[in-house]
Amino acid sequence: MASRVLSSQLVFNWRRNPPAILGTLVVLLCAVIVIAGPLLVSQNPYDLRQLSLLDSYKPPVWLDGGDPRYLLGTDGQGRDVMASIVYGTRISAMIGVTAMLMACAIGTTLGLLAGYFGGRLDALIMRVADVQLSFPSMLIALFLMSAFGTGIDKVLIALTAVGWVVYARTVRGSTLGEVQKEYVQAAHVAGLSHAKIILRHVLPNVLTPLIVIATVQVGTFILIEASLSFLGVGVPITRPSLGLLIKNGFDVLFAGLWWNSVFPGLMIMAMVFGINLMGDFLRDELNPRLK
């Protein structure tokens, strides 16, 4: 009942908030690219057999020497820049969302346990969180990548390791509040198991604040991944993310081959901007303190 009211209110406010609408549209567009991407472009940039070195560094189609097959030009391997961006967006978005979900799942679980049971477990989890919070996320991720080596799986591990803390802390805080409440006490008296109380009663009530955190975190993760790839410790070059595309593009920027870095740069900016616009809107709506 309460959630119905909340969501209709949300929709109402959303309709009157142009930045929120813009953000949603951008995010939806990215979602289309991620899901239907391969259908939108004719080339699979990962299939090396489809590439020809002879087509390398063609400019965008509206410039002299442009090739109608390659709308935004090609890179040094003769790869269609637009196809690279579509596939790169998939990689970037996939990494951002997957790492967020993993961090959220782990962080929420630990936060619930810490807040519900308290005691030594709580102390341990919170001490680990404290240690980790003495470091900027970027440094931790950078360090982990340098220790593990490059690859998408390792980027996911590094980002998860960086991201869980914020969920654990928030969830622990709200759980502490919930546990005091009468209905939880009543459930105890009624003899419900801990697992049932946590899942049925506590969890649903601590999730709302996580929506904002999760939304913004996807954007942050996409940027951290891009920075790691820029430093050469991110994803492999055979499956480049947007960040790696930009990096490779920089090598040829001063040579005048700007389309290799500018277009992926605009794409990553648009995607993260859209996510942040949505995050902003959700924060204003879901966090009554700032309303």
């Binding site: 930045p19 430093l231 993260v272 901007f273």
Partner: protein
């Protein structure tokens, strides 16, 4: 107060110890540093000799115990690559990093606070919306992209600023700084602006949120009702209280700035410790990485401690426990 300081100190030591253990463990996953030092065709005897010289002939736990022992005597270990004390290597480069971090923080603060106050005080103004959207763009851009574009436009095309390096430095109180020469400032502009982008946006948003919160408070409404001018309310009452959250964020931002300085320094060939970290990672130079991370943790903890103290001074409602 004293008890609080002691508690924080102990916490800090625990953090530093944990860092040293984790880094030691993790670094055993990376490439064997000895291969960075010996030639490709080194004989087994040559490799063994190099291991002995670098202290890599012992097992990892033994190396760690030795590391701790040395640590207690104030020895932080020696770089495998430079063969110099790791701490010296880092301290040598620390001033350069602090320079861009502080200038970036300064730029961010000077630009962000007025804009944030304005946007917070006039939330419905179209200009405020523009400021807010602009700040979002600031958070949404990868820093290295901004840096390269700035070099491309302002150094290569317009030739207004140098593209790299630190410029002239002078010795001041035993520290080499470029902040006392015109040439030094000329060099610091582009990297500091690049670095300030993200922080600027965050400070702006916190300031705005703080102001909006304060403007809703009853005492502001009272003051307005009593006939205090709008401007008076804004700067007399609102600003002071609205800025409290900004102080806290300084501590956190300093850490982020140091972290992102690694990238900025790499792009602008700025001779700071961030670039040393990246180089050391490429070279599997474990002692330098350990000391770097411990130092950053130390800076972070100390700064946040100071922030906590400041916090109680600005806002008398809060006391440290």
């Amino acid at each position: 107060m004293f008890a609080y300081a002691v508690k924080r100190l102990i916490q800090m030591l625990v953090v530093l110890w944990a860092v040293s253990v984790i880094v030691f463990m993790m670094m055993s996953f990376t490439g064997d540093p000895v291969f960075m030092v010996v030639p490709i065709d080194a004989t087994d005897a040559e490799i063994a000799q190099a291991r002995r010289i670098l202290g890599l002939d012992r097992s990892l736990p033994e190396q760690y115990v030795l590391f701790l022992k040395n640590l207690l005597q104030g020895e932080f270990g020696r770089s495998y690559v430079f063969r110099q004390p790791a701490l010296d290597l880092i301290l040598e480069r620390l001033p350069a990093t602090l320079e861009i971090v502080l200038v970036a923080l300064l730029i961010a603060t000077v630009v962000a606070i007025p804009l944030g106050v304005f946007a917070g005080a006039n939330p419905q103004n179209p200009l405020s919306r523009l400021i807010m959207s602009g700040s979002l763009v600031g958070i949404s851009l990868p820093g290295f992209w901004v840096g390269m574009m700035l070099i491309f436009i302002f150094a290569v095309e317009l030739r207004l600023f140098p593209s790299s390096g630190r410029g002239e430095t002078v010795e001041f109180l035993g520290i080499r700084t470029s902040l006392l020469t015109a040439n030094g400032w000329h060099h610091i502009v582009l990297p500091a602006v690049t670095l300030s982008f993200g922080t600027l946006a965050i400070i702006l948003r916190i300031t705005r949120a703080g102001m909006m919160e304060v403007m809703r408070q009853d005492y502001i409404k009272f003051a307005r009702a009593k006939g205090v001018s709008r401007r008076g309310v804004l700067y007399g009452h609102g600003l002071r209280n609205g800025l409290i959250p900004v102080v806290t964020i300084f501590g956190l931002q300093l850490g982020d700035l140091i972290a992102f300085a690694t990238i900025t320094e790499t792009i602008f060939a700025w001779p700071g410790m961030g670039k040393l970290l990246i180089d050391s990672i490429y070279r599997a130079d474990r002692p330098v990485i350990v000391v770097y991370l411990m130092l950053v943790a130390l800076i972070f903890v100390v700064v946040n401690f100071i922030v906590d103290i400041l916090y109680t001074m600005i806002d008398p409602r809060i006391t440290v426990k």
